[in-house]
C-alpha cells in the first residue's frame, strides 16, 4: 500500500514535469515527435533508476558516516556525470541496438535536472533503498507520460493555424500550462 501511494503520487499527483518543473529542457527540447520522446524517456528511466541507487548508497555509506553531508550536491552531480559516461561506454559494447536507440540522448541527461532532482528528493524524503528505487522508477514513468502526451499534442499543433507571434515555443508553453491544469485534477488523490 505504501509503495502504491509512492507510485501514484509520483506519476499523477506531483508529476515531475508538470507539477515540480524538473526536466523542462528535454520536455520542451525533444518533444517535437512522439518517437524521439519515447527514446528520451527510455534513457531517463534507465539513468534515473541507476543514479538514485548509486547516490543512495553513497549518501548512506560514505557521506553520513564521515559527517560530510554538505558535500551532497557536489558528490551527486559527479556520480551522475560519470555514471552517464559509463552507461554510454557499456551500452556501446554490449548492446549496439539499444545504444543506437538511446545514444544521442545520453549526454543530454547529465544536465537534466530531473535526475539530480530525484536523487536529492529521495534523500529529503528519507526513503529507504527499496522505496527510493520505486520512487525513481515511478518518477521516470511520470516523466515519460508527460513527455509522450505533450509530443502527441505538439504533433497536432504543427498542423494548426497558430497566430504568427505565438508559433513555436509560446504556444508550446501555453499548451503545457493547460496540460498541467489537467494534471491538477489528480490533486488530493493520495
Amino acid at each position: 500500500m505504501e509503495y502504491f501511494a509512492i507510485i501514484i503520487g509520483a506519476i499523477f499527483v506531483s508529476n515531475i514535469v508538470l507539477a515540480q518543473f524538473l526536466g523542462i529542457c528535454p520536455f520542451l527540447g525533444v518533444s517535437g515527435r512522439v518517437s524521439t520522446s519515447v527514446g528520451m524517456s527510455g534513457a531517463v528511466l534507465f539513468v534515473m533508476t541507476l543514479a538514485t541507487l548509486v547516490t543512495w548508497l553513497i549518501y548512506v555509506y560514505v557521506l553520513v558516516p564521515f559527517g560530510i553531508t554538505y558535500l551532497q550536491t557536489i558528490s551527486f552531480i559527479l556520480v551522475i556525470a560519470s555514471l552517464v559516461q559509463m552507461v554510454e561506454i557499456i551500452l556501446k559494447k554490449i548492446s549496439p541496438p539499444l545504444y543506437q536507440a538511446l545514444g544521442i540522448f545520453l549526454p543530454l541527461i547529465t544536465t537534466n535536472c530531473a535526475v539530480l532532482g530525484v536523487a536529492l528528493l529521495t534523500q529529503s524524503k528519507n526513503y529507504d533503498l527499496l522505496q527510493g528505487i520505486v520512487f525513481a522508477i515511478a518518477n521516470a514513468i511520470g516523466f515519460a507520460l508527460a513527455m509522450i502526451l505533450f509530443a502527441g499534442l505538439r504533433e497536432h499543433l504543427n498542423l494548426m493555424e497558430v497566430p504568427k507571434g505565438m508559433r513555436g515555443v509560446p504556444i508550446a508553453l501555453v499548451t503545457a500550462g493547460i496540460l498541467a491544469m489537467a494534471f491538477m485534477g489528480f490533486a488530493g488523490l493520495v
Partner: protein, 194 residues
Amino acid sequence: MNQWKNFSKGFIKDNPVFVLLLGLCPTLAVTSSAINGLGMGLATTFVLLCSNIVVTLIKDFIPNKVRIPSFIVIIASFVTIVELVMQAYSPALFNALGIFIPLIVVNCLVLGRAEGFASKQGFISSVVDGLGMGIGFTFALTLLGAIREMLGNGSIFDVKFTSGDAILLFVLQPGAFIVLGYLIALINKMKKTS
C-alpha cells in the same frame, strides 16, 4: 567586442530566459512571487559570475578532455557556498526555493556560459558576461514572479493592492507555463518591430 554591448546583451536581445530558453526549470518553479524570483536570480548570478571568473582564470591548465567535469566541480562548489550561506542568513528564502538551490548546478545557463564563453574569452569579458547574463536572468525571473504574484495574489513584493480575490491559478503550476508563454510571444513581437 565592445564591453557595454557584451554587458547589455543579456537584458533583451540575448535574454537567457526569453530568447535563449536556458534555465527554464528554476524559472518556472520558483517564480510564484516576485521576491522568490529575485532571490533565485541573485543566487544564480553569484554562481554564474564566480564560475565564469574561475573558469577563465584556469582555462589554460585544464586538459580539453576533462573540461566539462572540471567546470561542473567548480560550479558545484559555488552552489554549495550559496546553499550554506542562504541557509544561515535567509532560512525563509532557503525553504521557499527548496530543492532548486542545489539544482543551480544543472542549470544549463551556468554551464553554457562557462563552456561557451568563459573558456574562450579573457578575464574582463568573462566578468562582464557573467554579470550581464546574471542580471538578465534575475530581471526575467523577477518580472515573471511579479506578474504571477499580481494576477494570482493581488500583490507585488508582498504589498497588497486589491482587497478582493485574485486568480489563484496564476500562482499555481499552470500559471507559470501560461504567463511565460505569453511573455515570450510579447518579446518576440517587440524584437520584430524594433
